[in-house]
């Protein structure tokens, strides 16, 4: 095996999807003399959750429509109070400026006749949804800024582990070129992880490994890397579960159709939830509806006028997931006279949609010096696309200012050889298990044992199965660098599965609706569990679980208001 390729940079940004490009742009803007490297396992031009674009901003905080304080209150309530308000506030106060900056770069947002942003209401309380009529262009617009500022870009590198400095901070990362099979070591003064959600955790009901809601490149690499670097992970029991189009497994999407008059109904054609905003409480009512025999659940658009349906199609079938129309055509589904069958997705981990991620403070700093996290990977609740961009920007600026000066940290070179042996083992083995088979079995077990409702005995059995699969990791055989990338992703998926099970067992109550519904412990227990559940890798190499108090609120929330999302169900008698 040849020597690894060594790359030196000042700020390394891992992940070129949504948060990463903003981190790189803002690090470079903060100090143009710094070398900033933006790296992706795919191609930055079309990487991440918004590879094909996005049809709306879900959390715009725009003066006249919402205040940062209102937004902080809204998300605090949406996440059952378990939030670090300082992070949400840090997003909210930069939200409007971020929209205006994107607007100045060429991203199109819907405006009314007077030129003001046309904000719409989907959330339980406030109005934060801003359509992006040409949202398919968002990646291209941002890519131009990356090029303009002179950010270096490297594609097709899958980062497998962070390089640790002798002082316990981070000194860079190690990666595999999934095309050439080259092993690459990147030395950096600070690393910003923007690797997205753990979107390949549960197995889609279709059985198709890549039929996920999230971009399947988002396999949870960042959760695994941060964990092995000693960073604190937060809220891994607060799963991401979404209401999706059955079989297609993509969003319907309530944020687009809701403002036009679309809504969710049961098999009788009756509404049963008050708000289609994605929350655990909404998902619990969805699940109960299915369990009660009133399912299936549908998205109803057939009552809308022709011109309204056409407008919806022009958004839904063009941006974010443009094959939606192709899927409906294949089944002869027409929004004009057919309901769209919905289902409950497999589980994932995602800060942007729920709240599970690497713990960060309001400067996007993790608990490990020189290591930052932003976007779906960090635990800033319900942060979505714009929150990813703002936290990416915060991470880029803070890392450049704080660590840009000084020397590259010193590290023990032994970890490079150890990682190289781990990564290349499946390629060097003469025979073994196909990574896709190990992944299939692992994700099927995730469905069988971790999909809520969460049952103690089932999760314990799940941990036994995961331990057996961990032994199988040393039996995987890859035939080429591409399969080797998939094999390394299976390592990350397994870490996420095990940590999600352990965090779920640790929190002895139910919270966040379906996301953490434990029928054996059906009540919320604020006395014991009004706190974060955190974990980090202990000295013994095992996950160490602990409570972290909810930091003092910067925006007070009245006790009576805090659990407003409990009143999600529309009773039949109403």
């Amino acid at each position: 095996m040849s020597d690894p390729k060594i790359i030196e940079t000042d700020i390394l940004v891992v992940g070129g999807g949504t948060a990463g490009p903003l981190a790189a742009i803002k690090a470079k803007a903060a100090n143009p003399a710094l070398r900033v490297l933006l790296l992706d396992k795919a191609n930055v031009k079309r990487a991440g959750a918004i590879a094909e674009g996005m049809d709306s901003v879900n959390n715009a905080v725009i003066p006249g429509h919402a205040t940062p304080e209102q937004y902080v209150r809204e998300i605090t309530i949406a996440n059952d109070g378990i939030v670090n308000q300082r992070t949400i506030h840090a997003y909210a106060i930069r939200s409007h400026a971020m929209i205006r900056e994107l607007d100045s770069w060429g991203v199109k947002f819907e405006k009314d006749a007077t030129g003001e942003y046309a904000v719409r209401k989907v959330h339980h309380m406030g109005a934060y949804v801003l359509p992006m009529p040409e949202g398919y262009a968002v990646k291209k617009v941002i890519y131009k800024q990356i090029r303009k500022l002179g950010v270096e870009v490297t594609n097709r590198l899958i980062t497998t582990r962070l390089l640790l400095a002798r002082d316990g901070s981070v000194a860079g990362a190690m990666a595999l070129d999934s095309r050439s099979g080259e092993f690459v070591v990147i030395q950096a003064k600070a690393v910003v992880l923007c690797t997205g959600s753990a979107g390949r955790l549960g197995l889609p009901a279709s059985g198709y490994l890549f039929g996920t809601y999230e971009n399947p490149t988002n396999a949870g690499d960042g959760y695994s890397m941060a964990y092995h670097a000693g960073a604190e992970l937060s809220g891994l029991e607060c799963f991401q579960i979404n209401p999706l189009i059955k079989d297609y497994n993509g969003p319907a999407c309530a944020y687009v159709t809701g403002p036009f008059g679309g809504y969710t109904v049961n098999a009788k054609g009756e509404r049963f939830i008050k708000s289609d905003y994605w929350s655990g409480q909404m998902m619990l009512e969805f699940w109960r509806e299915l369990e009660s025999g009133n399912g299936p659940v549908f998205l109803k658009l057939d009552h809308l006028a022709e011109e309204t349906v056409s407008r919806i199609e022009n958004i839904l079938h063009v941006t974010e997931r443009p094959t939606r129309g192709r899927f409906h055509d294949g089944r002869g589904t027409d929004y004009r006279h057919d309901l769209v069958e919905m289902h409950i997705s497999e589980i994932g981990l995602c800060g942007g949609h729920s709240a599970s991620g690497v713990w960060v403070d309001e400067n996007a700093r993790t608990t490990v010096p020189r290591l930052y996290a932003a976007g779906d990977l960090c635990n800033v609740a319900h942060n979505y696309m714009l929150g990813a961009m703002v936290f990416g920007a915060i991470a880029g600026e803070d890392s450049a200012r704080h660590w840009g000066g000084g020397d590259l940290p010193d590290y023990d070179p032994a970890q490079i050889e150890a990682e190289r042996r781990r990564v290349f083992a499946p390629l060097e083995r003469a025979e073994g298990l196909a990574p896709s088979q190990v992944e299939y079995k692992l994700r099927r077990m995730v469905n069988d044992y971790l999909q809520p409702p969460k049952i103690t005995r089932k999760m314990e059995i799940g941990l036994e199965r995961f331990a057996e699969i961990r032994a199988d990791l040393d039996r995987m055989k890859a035939n080429n660098p591409h399969e080797l990338m998939r094999a390394m992703e299976v390592h990350a998926i397994l870490d996420c599965a095990e940590l999600a099970a352990r965090a779920s067992l640790y929190r002895q109550e139910s919270r966040w609706g379906l996301y953490h519904y434990r029928p054996e412990l059906p009540a919320r227990d604020d006395g014991e569990w009004f706190c974060f559940v955190e974990l980090r890798k202990g000295e013994d190499g095992r996950p160490h679980l602990f409570k972290r108090p909810v930091p003092e609120y910067v925006v007070p929330v009245a006790a009576a208001e805090l659990y407003a999302y409990d009143q999600m169900r529309i009773d039949a008698a109403e």
């Binding site: 795919a42 191609n43 031009k45 079309r46 990487a47 991440g48 590879a51 094909e52 398919y136 594609n155 097709r156 999934s178 095309r179 279709s206 059985g207 198709y208 490994l209 890549f210 039929g211 996920t212 971009n215 399947p216 490149t217 079989d247 297609y248 497994n249 997931r321 443009p322 094959t323 192709r326 899927f327 294949g330 089944r331 896709s436 591409h482 399969e483 990338m485």
Partner: protein
């Protein structure tokens, strides 16, 4: 790689200009499943399509059609 007997990403080789050096679809695919075959033509090499469409939209000659994978249809 499971079954590519009926690849869900279809490439019209009469329109494809890979022989002129074009690599657009290969470059933009998030899951890196498109590859140049030994015959110089682009083909779907791994059954890992997310049906996201950058390949189809970015193709300069509109040679690509992405179908929904059979298991989801």
């Amino acid at each position: 790689m499971s079954d590519l007997r009926s690849p869900s990403v279809r490439i019209d080789h009469d329109k494809c200009i890979a022989h002129k050096g074009c690599r657009t679809c290969i470059d933009v695919c998030p899951t890196d499943i498109l590859a140049l075959g030994p015959d110089g033509k682009v083909r779907m090499a791994f059954d890992e399509c997310w049906f996201c469409l950058p390949c189809e939209h970015d193709c300069p000659t509109k040679a690509i059609t992405v179908e929904i994978p059979y298991l989801l249809r």
